[in-house]
Symmetry: C2
Subunit: 186 residues, 2 copies
DNA sequence: ACCTGAACACCGTTCAAGT
DNA sequence: ACCTGAACACCGTTCAAGT
């Protein structure tokens, strides 16, 4: 285990424990067993360390996306989005960091995001060929699905999707609703 | 202009200028012409001040939502979501703060959010009666529309909706797409 | 009721120095 | 090449004191 990995591990743990404010270079160093500014030998600054945390998370999510067998593409899409939601709700801070805005255009982060998106667009193309998704620019249909999934997670995490009374809807319900509507509207 | 308002003004300006990290109680006080800890006489702590910023923004957005005449509800819905997008893209930091997660359950903030959502649900009910939106729990249809709008803004601000090549889609395009699909799928 | 100034503990970052 | 310890400027928060 390299020092760099230990630093990213510590930062990830701190993030999930107490939000981005709890990620302190000093505490990161302490947990990794190095001095409070050893991080500067591996990362330009605090934001660069956080970008590494986000990039690793993106790569892990993509790696876990492998599918057994060959179910219809639309089912793989639904499963992918539901897993995305599960991850977001289980580790909210990591989700917010990973898909938040970056002032620094980290190439590592940009490339990880690109890879995942390209694979998803391929699935949309396949589902369109199956007649399970409406025709149209696949990248645009893909954006529609991802934007809804993303927004549902954000609203849920912000408490704006509360399941109070009858009208509540969990993020996964909204994804199901959208897919059902798209199937009916070619 | 009360001191409290001046503090909220200063905090709002700082937020939009340099993100949440730039909102410093010391600088807020400086800009408001008071000492660096006068804010503590009006707000419990920094997060409470930020909650006041977010709550005021929510109230302003709701206040600007008044409509002349009586166009079909679905058009008012589209216009509302488009204005939401315009605000988010124009003032990204304020958008992220307003709809971000809050560890502190500020009642002022919760109430402002509730008011806006209730008004939107009324519009959805009217559009359903017009046959312009599919039947189903209005709160759930409303969540679908808001989640997509929200997610599209977040993706756009994070640079994940880049208009490169042919496949790019702006948030407003995605909202139009969703509404078109919903109209066709009753 | 509202504000000030000093003080405390903490943090990001830099720098000279060590192996 | 990687790490340490001291140092600097800054910040959130508290407290005693002022009007």
């Amino acid at each position: 285990v390299t020092t760099r990995d230990a630093l990213v591990d510590a930062a990830t743990d701190l993030l999930e424990e107490g939000g981005v404010a709890a990620v302190t270079l000093r505490e990161v160093g302490r947990r990794a067993g190095v001095s409070h500014n050893a991080p500067y030998k591996h990362f330009a600054d605090k934001e660069d360390l956080l970008a590494a945390v986000a990039a690793r998370e993106l790569r892990r999510q993509y790696a876990s996306r492998r599918v057994r067998g060959h179910p219809p593409a639309i089912e793989t899409i639904a499963a992918t989005l539901r897993r995305h939601i599960r991850h977001a709700l289980a580790r909210p801070e990591l989700f917010r960091l990973t898909y938040g805005a970056w002032r620094t255009g980290s190439p590592e982060l940009a490339e990880a995001a690109m890879t995942g998106r390209a694979a998803f667009i391929d699935l949309v193309v396949a589902a369109q060929a199956d007649g399970d998704l409406p025709a149209g620019d696949p990248q645009r249909v893909s954006s529609l699905l991802l934007a809804l999934t993303h927004g549902a997670c954000h609203l849920a995490l912000a408490g704006h999707l509360s399941r109070t009374g009858k009208g509540g809807a969990a993020p996964a319900d909204l994804v199901d609703d959208l897919i059902a509507h798209l199937r009916r509207a070619p």
